[in-house]
Amino acid sequence: MKTRFQGLSGLSWLSLALLISWLILPLIPLALWSVSRSWFFPDILPSSYSLRAWSYVFSTTSEVLPALGQTALIALGATCISVIIGVPAGRALGLYQFRGKAVIEILILAPMIVPGIAVALGLHVVFLKLGLAGSAIGVMIVHLIPTLPYMVLVMSGVFSNYNPAAEAQARSLGASPLQAFYYVTLPAILPGLMIGSLFTFLVSWSQYILTLLIGGGRVVTLPLLLFNFASAGRNDITGAISMIYILPGVLLLLVAARYLTGRNGNLEGMHRI
């Protein structure tokens, strides 16, 4: 570790410190709130502590645990659908030139440019007619609006560095199309696929407006719950839910960091096959 840090210049240290404080500092009051009984302005620390917020969060009467499951299920579902659509779409955009490619690229980026709420308001009517409004499936589908562009963009980047001749080679060596995908394509795109999936998961995980509009209050996810308690002034419960809420983000980013740094060899290999 020592040798790794020796190379850092003063500026790098500064930016690292800024990044850490920017990420960690806002979390400290939340963590304190979650274990406080009373904390009044202008005290620096709470005057008394308790675990009642945490026991409420984990009690069967609160909606927190079901909401956690619901949020995870929707995020997983949206990620799976994004993978199923994003991998072939990214392959087409990354590998081939075809008429109308520029238009399709702009259309894919459109949800990142057009405010999601505008789209969601329009979609709400359609979803009502289809019977999807107010259902977890409907929320999952509407989450694709912000998640899919991430997946498609990441995968088209991955595939633009990919040589499809490797698949032809595998086929010629006796691999079926499925075997060629599993043994040749998948290992080559896996790092990118992981990163894209992590982003997709986190984008879905943090949706508020789209869930509220399409879910109509019947699909309760963690962000909704968090907002309710925050606006009700229950800072202790807000703090406790926040701690749970950021957990997957931190875990997934650690895994992603491993993919980005620890397995560099694999990423380099992508350009070579």
Partner: protein
């Protein structure tokens, strides 16, 4: 016996007007080493990919030992392709790369390992099973690619410019290796190259392709000495073409009457002789001798090129530099066109 037969094979890529391959018919004999020779983009790689099953022909048929394989997907065709870039799978070890095809055929691990060891020995890479492809040199990588294909003992091995990314000395080494592998395993091999020297050194027979069409399919000597037409001759470096016509074993042209070899075609309008076969400074009274003037002289390294003017007919001669030393531009000389070196084209 013919192992591989192409029948009127044609490929037109979608959106393209001109066919990449047009009406190619070819019989490749069992156990032979055949070269598909041609300039880049003449359709030779397209033919290889169609045989491997990686491309579907627009029309025509491909037969292995007499039966059509068009309906078979690549993995069940008994033909394996080796690409120009070795295309080793980077995240697999050398041993896993070589064993890939056997693994796809679901064979026992011990059996695969034994076969991998054997084939690596054959390509002189014993003991490198555990290395990653990135740790090997370019020549070693191409050897692994060869081993990976040969381990499957395919009926036909297809090689797409296998050595063109290697430097000169390595290429010669690999050519020798391929030749000895061919002698040992007696696999039918079809390899694509744009390098006529490589084709001539390696191949039993050469199929010359020019813009998607098969122009001549013959043993190397015949392509060189008895080309079918002017374009084939030019591809193999012929420079001298004399217009005239054949009359009773002689070629009647502005130079005079030139005596032809007995086996020359009886009808033809062009006489050709390779630049290195023209003899300079022979006796004026011998057969096929003509006066000429040296128009220019150019040193090319291992050879010297003379441009001659023989009563209005331009001729190119290649000589060894020490013979050419005494000859200067403007000198009048006698040239002889040896009878056995002449050939008549349509």
């Amino acid at each position: 016996m013919s192992d591989l037969a192409l029948e009127h094979l044609t490929k037109i890529y979608p959106g393209s007007e001109t066919p990449a391959v047009e009406g190619v018919s070819l019989n490749v004999e069992s156990g032979s080493l055949t070269a598909l020779l041609g300039p880049s983009a003449c359709g030779k790689s397209t033919i290889l990919k169609m045989i491997a099953g990686l491309l579907t022909p627009t029309s025509g048929d491909i037969r292995f030992a007499g039966s059509s394989v068009l309906k078979q997907p690549p993995q069940s065709r008994d033909a394996v392709m080796v690409f120009q870039d070795h295309l080793l799978f980077p995240y697999l070890t050398v041993g896993e790369n070589v064993g890939f095809g056997l693994k796809m055929r679901v064979q026992a691990k011990a059996k695969i390992n034994r076969a991998v060891g054997e084939i690596l020995e054959l390509v002189q890479l014993s003991g490198l099973e555990q290395r990653k492809p990135s740790e090997l040199s370019g020549g070693q990588q191409q050897r692994v690619a060869l081993a990976r294909a040969l381990i499957l003992r395919p009926r036909i091995l297809l090689l797409d410019e296998p050595f063109s990314n290697l430097d000169e000395s390595l290429r010669l080494e690999m050519q020798t290796l391929l030749k000895s592998l061919h002698a040992e395993m007696k696999t039918t091999m079809l390899f694509v190259t744009h390098d006529q020297e490589e084709a001539i050194t390696l191949a039993d027979k050469i199929a010359l392709l020019l813009s998607g069409r098969l122009r001549q399919y013959d043993i190397p000597q015949n392509l060189y000495n008895h080309p079918k037409d002017r374009e084939v001759a030019q591809f193999f470096g012929a420079r001298n073409f004399i217009s005239g016509r054949v009359e009773a074993g002689k070629f009647d042209c502005p130079l005079g009457q030139i005596v032809l070899p007995e086996n020359a075609p009886a009808d033809g309008r062009l006489l050709t002789i390779r630049p290195e076969n023209i003899v300079i400074g022979s006796n004026a009274s011998s057969d096929n001798s003509f006066p000429a003037t040296i128009a220019s002289k150019k040193f090319l390294g291992s050879q010297t090129r003379l441009e001659l003017d023989a009563t209005g007919q331009e001729l190119t001669v290649l000589l060894s530099p020490n013979i050419a030393e005494s000859l200067q531009a403007g000198t009048e000389i006698i040239i002889q066109l040896p009878r056995q070196s002449l050939w008549v084209l349509p």
